[in-house]
């Protein structure tokens, strides 16, 4: 490795890192992309979706036709799970737009491998099986990385850290003090193999169409939720659990997953499906409050490593933020290399570009919603209230029917005071309206 000189080292061949490497390589920057897995994607578990964003199409014309995604999402179901009932909202639109402007499900090992190959084809050097152990810092400026093995150090004027949710490089650089349990969620997932046609039938889809099911509640009071995502010939089924809440509960994620998978909401979808893999991963969940400064002299931070991932309770975004931040890191990095100015002041243009982009704007728009989702009641009391209202609404027991408002007051009475309910309604209103 010592024989070749690189202008940029990108750490992590996930979506943020590979897009950054692709952007840099296309600009003629001598780029090294380091991945600790034996291949890109080997360390990525993911059952989720990628929402359309402009960055990949700009770099790879025809990206949405070429990339190995699984299904186009046409149907999204949000279910509030109570002890003895569940209430769902189903959104379906078969018009995903042409040209495509929708959302796709992905199988990350396949997608990550393909994306890293694009960076390689553009001229980046991709080295797998290489764990970055730390930074090389001189005079307060990052100027390379330390890797395992005999060669030890790779120097380069630019380092892009796409090293994932724990973000050890950003921490070592002093951009943050280490992520904390209350900022993160753990995702656990089972991957189930199932025939494409069976998936189509069970979810009401035709060939190539996909569905996402998301569940609020049903996690035994732990803040979090469940998901079922349709891939081409498999289903990703799992839970995302706030770490501080999980820790306080004394419950094990695999026990909660087992219960979720066996529940009446999920079990019928999995009949005859074969569980082929189990995995776990952390997700940043604290929104803007946990996003540190993402640039310093010689280094830019992109994707999960920068805390750029969130859910607002209605949708989950992460990969589009990773691709967009990785793209911007590549652009700003290439511009800085062009004028040979890797100073903190120069690279701060990256934070500026992110602030102008949808990445920071969306995080800001839903900042209150992201904070709202840290309220325990949303995952315990309110699902029960919704269930009680719906049960009463449909009940027929010979007694005269009551208005919905009276039913709701009755359902709330034993659980949450009027005052707390009003305060929560105001919070919910301010979060979404």
């Amino acid at each position: 490795m010592a024989a070749t000189e690189f202008d940029a080292v990108v750490v992590g061949a996930g979506p943020a890192g590979s897009i950054a490497a692709l952007t840099l390589a296309q600009k003629g920057v001598k780029t090294l992309l380091l991945e600790r897995g034996e291949r890109p994607g080997a360390k990525n578990m993911f059952g989720g979706t990628l929402a359309w964003c402009p960055a990949p199409e700009e770099l790879i014309p025809g990206f949405w036709e070429k990339a190995p995604w699984e299904r186009e999402v046409v149907k999204r179901t949000l279910t509030v799970v109570a002890e003895t009932s569940a209430t769902s909202m189903v959104f379906r639109s078969d018009d995903v737009g042409r040209p495509f402007r929708g959302r796709v499900t992905l199988f990350r090992p396949a997608f990550d491998g393909w994306l890293a190959a694009q960076a390689q084809a553009a001229g980046a050097t991709v080295v797998c099986g290489c764990t970055v152990e730390g930074l090389v810092v001189r005079d307060g400026r990052v100027c390379g990385v330390r890797v395992g093995g005999p060669n030890g150090v790779v120097e380069a004027p630019l380092v892009v850290a796409g090293d994932g949710a724990l973000s050890f490089l950003a921490k070592e650089a002093g951009l943050h003090a280490g992520v904390r349990a209350e900022q993160m969620a753990v995702g656990v997932r089972g991957l189930y193999a199932l025939d494409a046609e069976e998936i189509d039938g069970r979810f009401g889809l035709v060939r190539g169409q996909g569905a996402t099911n998301e569940y609020l509640g049903g996690t035994d009071g732990v803040r979090g939720g469940g998901f079922v995502y349709t891939q081409t010939e498999s289903l990703s089924v799992g839970l995302v659990l706030h770490l501080d809440s999980l820790k306080a509960s004394g419950l094990a994620p695999y026990d909660l997953l087992e219960r979720f998978v066996g529940s009446v909401h999920v079990a019928p979808l999995l009949r005859g499906a074969q569980l082929v893999e189990y995995s776990a991963h952390l997700l940043p969940e604290a929104g803007l409050s946990m996003v540190p400064r993402l640039s310093m002299g010689g280094m830019l931070v992109a994707g999960d490593a920068g805390g750029l991932c969130y859910t607002n309770g209605l949708t989950q975004e992460g990969m589009n933020l990773a691709l967009t931040s990785g793209h911007l890191a590549g652009l700003v990095g290439a511009e800085a290399l062009e004028v040979r100015d890797m100073s903190a002041a120069r690279l701060a243009a990256y934070d500026e570009r992110l602030r102008e982009s949808f990445v920071f704007r969306d995080l800001k728009t839903y900042d209150r919603a992201i904070k709202l989702l840290r309220r325990d009641r949303l995952f315990s009391d309110y699902p029960e209230v919704v269930g009680a209202i719906m049960e009463q609404l449909y009940a027929s027991d010979g007694a005269p029917k009551r208005r919905v408002g009276a039913i709701a007051r009755n359902a709330l009475r034993d659980r949450i005071s009027i005052r707390e309910t009003l305060a929560d309604l105001i919070r919910i209103g301010r979060s979404y309206l």
Binding site: E38, P109, V147, L191, L243, E258, E277
Partner: protein, 91 residues
Amino acid sequence: MNLDDIFDLVSYRIHPEAHIVVDYSTCPSCPHRACTFACPARCYEWNDARDRVDFAYESCLECGTCLLVCDPGALTWNYPAGGYGVRFRAT
């Protein structure tokens, strides 16, 4: 889903040395022992006789949960050396 089977479905290339090192001296005074239930891979198990956890790094999924729930700060946490550790399915 048979709980005991799920952990057998994961593929690893195990390094001879542990990538996470536990300072067991904090275990006896730990107020929550959160690693013993929060770790998605069941790597930590409480050992009454030794009054500390037993830790098996071999089945680690490299998620980082233990690092964040262990507030006594008993863990020296690194990713495994390149190419080692968990390897998720390619297909």
